[in-house]
Protein backbone atom coordinates (compact mmCIF):
# COMPACT_ATOMS: atom_id res chain seq x y z
CA UNK A 1 0.00 0.00 0.00
CA UNK A 2 1.41 3.35 -1.00
CA UNK A 3 0.24 4.87 2.27
CA UNK A 4 2.49 2.62 4.37
CA UNK A 5 5.47 4.02 6.22
CA UNK A 6 8.45 3.15 4.03
CA UNK A 7 11.04 5.64 5.28
CA UNK A 8 11.73 7.48 8.51
CA UNK A 9 13.77 10.57 9.19
CA UNK A 10 16.40 10.00 11.87
CA UNK A 11 18.45 13.20 11.96
CA UNK A 12 21.49 13.29 14.19
CA UNK A 13 22.86 16.52 15.60
CA UNK A 14 25.90 16.53 17.86
CA UNK A 15 27.62 19.50 19.38
CA UNK A 16 31.38 19.49 19.81
CA UNK A 17 34.02 21.86 21.06
CA UNK A 18 36.60 21.72 18.32
CA UNK A 19 40.24 22.36 19.20
CA UNK A 20 42.85 23.13 16.60
CA UNK A 21 45.71 22.06 18.87
CA UNK A 22 48.66 24.19 19.98
CA UNK A 23 50.74 23.74 16.81
CA UNK A 24 48.07 24.69 14.30
CA UNK A 25 47.07 27.52 16.61
CA UNK A 26 50.38 29.36 16.22
CA UNK A 27 49.58 29.36 12.50
CA UNK A 28 46.07 30.69 13.18
CA UNK A 29 47.50 33.40 15.44
CA UNK A 30 49.82 34.38 12.58
CA UNK A 31 46.84 34.72 10.25
CA UNK A 32 45.25 37.15 12.72
CA UNK A 33 48.38 39.27 12.32
CA UNK A 34 48.47 39.01 8.54
CA UNK A 35 51.41 36.59 8.55
CA UNK A 36 51.93 33.08 7.16
CA UNK A 37 53.42 31.02 9.97
CA UNK A 38 54.28 27.41 9.25
CA UNK A 39 56.18 24.81 11.25
CA UNK A 40 59.31 22.80 10.68
CA UNK A 41 59.53 19.04 11.16
CA UNK A 42 62.41 18.41 13.58
CA UNK A 43 63.25 15.15 11.80
CA UNK A 44 63.15 15.85 8.05
CA UNK A 45 63.29 19.67 8.44
CA UNK A 46 60.54 20.25 5.87
CA UNK A 47 58.41 23.36 6.50
CA UNK A 48 54.68 22.72 6.65
CA UNK A 49 52.49 25.72 5.79
CA UNK A 50 49.79 25.34 6.94
CA UNK A 51 50.99 22.92 9.64
CA UNK A 52 48.12 20.43 8.97
CA UNK A 53 47.22 18.69 12.25
CA UNK A 54 50.47 19.61 13.97
CA UNK A 55 52.37 16.59 12.68
CA UNK A 56 54.71 15.49 9.91
CA UNK A 57 52.96 12.54 8.26
CA UNK A 58 56.16 11.31 6.67
CA UNK A 59 58.11 11.06 9.91
CA UNK A 60 55.27 10.52 12.37
CA UNK A 61 56.69 13.43 14.36
CA UNK A 62 55.26 16.44 16.15
CA UNK A 63 56.11 19.63 14.28
CA UNK A 64 58.65 21.92 15.95
CA UNK A 65 59.64 25.55 15.57
CA UNK A 66 57.56 28.27 13.91
CA UNK A 67 58.76 29.42 10.50
CA UNK A 68 57.31 32.54 8.96
CA UNK A 69 57.26 32.13 5.19
CA UNK A 70 56.99 34.65 2.36
CA UNK A 71 53.75 36.27 1.20
CA UNK A 72 54.70 35.37 -2.37
CA UNK A 73 54.57 31.97 -3.97
CA UNK A 74 54.29 29.85 -7.07
CA UNK A 75 51.33 27.97 -8.51
CA UNK A 76 52.46 24.33 -8.68
CA UNK A 77 49.18 22.96 -10.02
CA UNK A 78 45.59 24.13 -10.41
CA UNK A 79 42.16 23.26 -11.71
CA UNK A 80 39.37 25.31 -13.27
CA UNK A 81 36.07 24.77 -11.46
CA UNK A 82 33.10 24.80 -13.83
CA UNK A 83 30.71 22.71 -11.78
CA UNK A 84 28.19 24.32 -9.45
CA UNK A 85 27.74 22.63 -6.04
CA UNK A 86 25.86 23.18 -2.80
CA UNK A 87 27.44 25.90 -0.68
CA UNK A 88 29.46 27.39 -3.53
CA UNK A 89 30.13 31.07 -2.85
CA UNK A 90 32.21 32.07 -5.86
CA UNK A 91 31.07 32.63 -9.44
CA UNK A 92 32.16 29.91 -11.86
CA UNK A 93 34.46 29.40 -13.67
CA UNK A 94 37.14 29.98 -11.05
CA UNK A 95 40.59 28.60 -10.35
CA UNK A 96 41.58 26.57 -7.32
CA UNK A 97 45.33 26.22 -7.06
CA UNK A 98 48.09 24.69 -5.00
CA UNK A 99 50.46 27.49 -4.04
CA UNK A 100 53.99 26.90 -2.81
CA UNK A 101 54.89 29.93 -0.73
CA UNK A 102 58.57 30.88 -0.85
CA UNK A 103 60.21 29.22 2.16
CA UNK A 104 57.56 26.48 2.53
CA UNK A 105 57.93 22.85 1.48
CA UNK A 106 54.23 22.02 1.18
CA UNK A 107 51.78 23.62 -1.19
CA UNK A 108 48.61 25.15 0.22
CA UNK A 109 45.20 25.32 -1.39
CA UNK A 110 43.64 28.67 -2.32
CA UNK A 111 41.72 30.60 -4.96
CA UNK A 112 43.24 32.52 -7.86
CA UNK A 113 41.34 35.65 -8.93
CA UNK A 114 41.94 38.95 -10.76
CA UNK A 115 43.07 36.94 -13.79
CA UNK A 116 41.22 35.15 -16.57
CA UNK A 117 40.98 31.43 -15.76
CA UNK A 118 42.44 30.64 -19.17
CA UNK A 119 45.61 32.59 -18.35
CA UNK A 120 46.45 30.74 -15.12
CA UNK A 121 49.44 28.40 -15.51
CA UNK A 122 51.89 26.29 -13.53
CA UNK A 123 54.81 28.40 -12.36
CA UNK A 124 52.77 31.61 -12.19
CA UNK A 125 53.88 33.85 -9.32
CA UNK A 126 51.09 34.97 -6.97
CA UNK A 127 50.47 37.01 -3.82
CA UNK A 128 47.59 37.13 -1.29
CA UNK A 129 44.81 39.71 -1.22
CA UNK A 130 43.87 40.14 2.45
CA UNK A 131 40.43 41.14 3.67
CA UNK A 132 40.17 44.42 5.61
CA UNK A 133 42.04 43.99 8.91
CA UNK A 134 38.91 44.50 11.03
CA UNK A 135 37.41 41.32 9.52
CA UNK A 136 40.36 39.08 10.43
CA UNK A 137 39.61 35.81 12.21
CA UNK A 138 41.85 32.84 13.07
CA UNK A 139 41.24 31.54 9.54
CA UNK A 140 42.85 31.27 6.13
CA UNK A 141 39.68 32.97 4.91
CA UNK A 142 41.40 36.21 5.95
CA UNK A 143 42.93 35.87 2.51
CA UNK A 144 40.17 36.45 -0.03
CA UNK A 145 42.26 35.01 -2.85
CA UNK A 146 45.66 35.10 -4.49
CA UNK A 147 46.42 37.15 -7.61
CA UNK A 148 49.33 37.28 -10.08
CA UNK A 149 52.28 39.43 -9.03
CA UNK A 150 53.40 40.07 -12.61
CA UNK A 151 56.84 38.60 -11.91
CA UNK A 152 58.32 36.23 -14.52
CA UNK A 153 57.14 32.61 -14.06
CA UNK A 154 59.20 30.41 -11.76
CA UNK A 155 61.23 27.82 -13.70
CA UNK A 156 59.76 24.30 -13.55
CA UNK A 157 62.83 22.91 -11.78
CA UNK A 158 62.26 25.30 -8.86
CA UNK A 159 59.02 23.53 -7.86
CA UNK A 160 59.31 20.14 -9.60
CA UNK A 161 60.16 18.50 -6.27
CA UNK A 162 56.88 19.71 -4.77
CA UNK A 163 54.47 18.12 -7.22
Amino acid sequence: MSDDVLRIRTPIGIKYQYSAGPRVSSHLLGLMEGRFVGKRCPVCELVYMPPRNGTCAKCGALLGEDVEVSQRGTITTFCVVNVPFLGQTIKIPYVSATILLDGADMGMQHLIQEVDAADVRMGMRVEPVWRPREEWQPSLENVMHFRPTGEPDAPFDSYAGHL
Binding site: D3, I8, T10, K15, Q17, A20, V24, Q137
Partner: protein, 160 residues
Protein backbone atom coordinates in the same frame (compact mmCIF):
# COMPACT_ATOMS: atom_id res chain seq x y z
CA UNK B 1 27.98 21.58 9.82
CA UNK B 2 27.66 24.80 11.77
CA UNK B 3 29.70 26.80 14.25
CA UNK B 4 32.93 28.39 13.17
CA UNK B 5 35.72 30.79 13.82
CA UNK B 6 33.55 33.73 14.88
CA UNK B 7 32.89 32.12 18.29
CA UNK B 8 36.45 31.02 19.01
CA UNK B 9 38.24 31.12 22.32
CA UNK B 10 41.86 30.47 23.24
CA UNK B 11 42.87 27.78 25.74
CA UNK B 12 45.72 28.05 28.25
CA UNK B 13 48.22 26.40 25.88
CA UNK B 14 47.30 28.81 23.07
CA UNK B 15 45.00 26.38 21.24
CA UNK B 16 42.12 27.97 19.38
CA UNK B 17 38.85 26.22 20.14
CA UNK B 18 35.40 26.80 18.70
CA UNK B 19 31.96 25.20 18.89
CA UNK B 20 31.16 22.83 16.06
CA UNK B 21 27.86 21.14 15.37
CA UNK B 22 27.72 18.18 13.04
CA UNK B 23 24.31 17.29 11.65
CA UNK B 24 23.53 14.21 9.64
CA UNK B 25 20.03 14.42 8.12
CA UNK B 26 19.69 10.64 7.74
CA UNK B 27 16.61 9.08 6.20
CA UNK B 28 16.23 5.34 6.56
CA UNK B 29 14.20 2.84 4.56
CA UNK B 30 12.58 0.59 7.12
CA UNK B 31 11.92 -2.68 5.30
CA UNK B 32 8.66 -4.65 5.30
CA UNK B 33 8.55 -5.67 8.98
CA UNK B 34 9.25 -2.28 10.54
CA UNK B 35 7.04 -0.69 7.86
CA UNK B 36 4.05 -2.62 9.15
CA UNK B 37 4.96 -1.86 12.78
CA UNK B 38 5.42 1.87 12.21
CA UNK B 39 2.33 2.12 10.02
CA UNK B 40 0.44 0.50 12.91
CA UNK B 41 1.79 3.05 15.38
CA UNK B 42 0.56 5.82 13.12
CA UNK B 43 -2.91 4.28 13.49
CA UNK B 44 -2.49 3.82 17.28
CA UNK B 45 -2.09 0.07 16.91
CA UNK B 46 0.81 -2.00 18.28
CA UNK B 47 1.75 -5.26 16.59
CA UNK B 48 4.57 -7.71 17.04
CA UNK B 49 6.00 -10.69 15.18
CA UNK B 50 5.66 -14.22 16.49
CA UNK B 51 8.85 -16.28 16.81
CA UNK B 52 9.31 -20.01 16.25
CA UNK B 53 8.93 -20.59 19.99
CA UNK B 54 5.64 -18.68 20.03
CA UNK B 55 7.12 -15.63 21.72
CA UNK B 56 5.77 -12.29 20.50
CA UNK B 57 8.48 -9.71 19.75
CA UNK B 58 7.67 -6.01 20.18
CA UNK B 59 9.22 -4.04 18.53
CA UNK B 60 8.98 -6.75 15.88
CA UNK B 61 11.98 -8.96 15.21
CA UNK B 62 12.62 -9.30 11.47
CA UNK B 63 14.30 -12.67 11.89
CA UNK B 64 13.76 -15.41 14.42
CA UNK B 65 16.41 -15.03 17.16
CA UNK B 66 16.70 -18.84 17.39
CA UNK B 67 16.37 -20.15 13.85
CA UNK B 68 17.26 -17.05 11.86
CA UNK B 69 14.18 -17.53 9.65
CA UNK B 70 12.17 -14.60 8.31
CA UNK B 71 9.25 -13.93 10.65
CA UNK B 72 5.90 -13.45 8.94
CA UNK B 73 3.28 -14.16 11.60
CA UNK B 74 1.91 -11.16 13.45
CA UNK B 75 0.10 -10.68 16.74
CA UNK B 76 -1.75 -7.67 18.12
CA UNK B 77 -0.58 -6.47 21.50
CA UNK B 78 -2.14 -3.96 23.87
CA UNK B 79 -1.09 -0.36 24.39
CA UNK B 80 -1.00 -1.14 28.11
CA UNK B 81 1.71 -2.97 29.97
CA UNK B 82 3.88 -3.41 33.04
CA UNK B 83 7.17 -1.76 34.02
CA UNK B 84 9.98 -4.33 34.07
CA UNK B 85 12.77 -1.97 35.07
CA UNK B 86 13.35 1.78 35.02
CA UNK B 87 15.81 4.58 35.63
CA UNK B 88 15.37 8.27 36.31
CA UNK B 89 16.28 10.97 33.78
CA UNK B 90 16.58 14.16 35.85
CA UNK B 91 17.77 16.33 32.94
CA UNK B 92 16.13 15.55 29.59
CA UNK B 93 18.27 16.06 26.50
CA UNK B 94 17.51 17.26 22.99
CA UNK B 95 15.42 14.65 21.20
CA UNK B 96 13.71 13.17 24.28
CA UNK B 97 9.93 13.13 23.83
CA UNK B 98 9.49 14.70 27.27
CA UNK B 99 11.34 17.85 28.24
CA UNK B 100 10.78 17.60 31.99
CA UNK B 101 12.26 14.96 34.33
CA UNK B 102 10.91 11.50 33.49
CA UNK B 103 11.68 7.79 33.80
CA UNK B 104 13.16 5.52 31.18
CA UNK B 105 11.59 2.09 31.37
CA UNK B 106 11.50 -1.30 29.77
CA UNK B 107 7.83 -2.12 29.42
CA UNK B 108 6.27 -5.51 28.91
CA UNK B 109 3.19 -4.79 26.83
CA UNK B 110 0.19 -7.03 27.42
CA UNK B 111 0.43 -9.83 24.86
CA UNK B 112 4.16 -9.33 24.17
CA UNK B 113 7.07 -11.47 25.36
CA UNK B 114 9.84 -8.91 24.88
CA UNK B 115 10.19 -5.42 26.34
CA UNK B 116 9.84 -2.00 24.75
CA UNK B 117 12.14 0.85 25.76
CA UNK B 118 10.28 4.12 26.25
CA UNK B 119 9.74 7.15 28.46
CA UNK B 120 7.32 7.14 31.39
CA UNK B 121 5.86 10.46 32.53
CA UNK B 122 5.94 9.63 36.24
CA UNK B 123 6.41 13.15 37.59
CA UNK B 124 8.78 12.22 40.39
CA UNK B 125 11.25 9.38 40.89
CA UNK B 126 9.47 8.26 44.05
CA UNK B 127 6.18 7.90 42.16
CA UNK B 128 7.34 5.02 39.97
CA UNK B 129 8.03 1.40 40.85
CA UNK B 130 8.80 -1.76 38.95
CA UNK B 131 5.57 -3.70 38.35
CA UNK B 132 3.40 -0.63 37.88
CA UNK B 133 0.90 -0.59 35.05
CA UNK B 134 1.29 1.92 32.21
CA UNK B 135 -0.70 3.09 29.18
CA UNK B 136 0.63 4.53 25.94
CA UNK B 137 0.05 8.26 25.35
CA UNK B 138 -0.37 8.79 21.63
CA UNK B 139 0.92 11.79 19.69
CA UNK B 140 -1.64 14.27 18.37
CA UNK B 141 0.06 14.31 14.99
CA UNK B 142 1.43 10.82 14.27
CA UNK B 143 4.18 10.44 11.67
CA UNK B 144 4.88 6.72 11.55
CA UNK B 145 7.65 6.65 14.15
CA UNK B 146 8.33 5.20 17.59
CA UNK B 147 7.71 8.77 18.80
CA UNK B 148 4.03 8.37 17.80
CA UNK B 149 3.97 7.03 21.33
CA UNK B 150 4.95 10.20 23.19
CA UNK B 151 5.47 8.29 26.41
CA UNK B 152 3.64 5.98 28.77
CA UNK B 153 1.50 7.22 31.65
CA UNK B 154 1.13 5.46 34.96
CA UNK B 155 -2.30 3.84 35.04
CA UNK B 156 -4.29 5.32 37.90
CA UNK B 157 -4.81 2.93 40.77
CA UNK B 158 -1.71 1.12 39.59
CA UNK B 159 -0.51 -1.59 42.01
CA UNK B 160 2.96 -0.83 43.31
Amino acid sequence: MSGGTSEYSIAADGSFTAPLELSYPYKRTVGPILSRFLTGLRDQRIEGTKGSDGRVHVPPAEFDPITGEHLTEWADVASTGTIVTWSWQPAPVEGNTLQHPFAWALISLDGADTNVLHAVDAGRADAIKTGMRVTARWADEPSGSITDIVCFDLTSGSPA
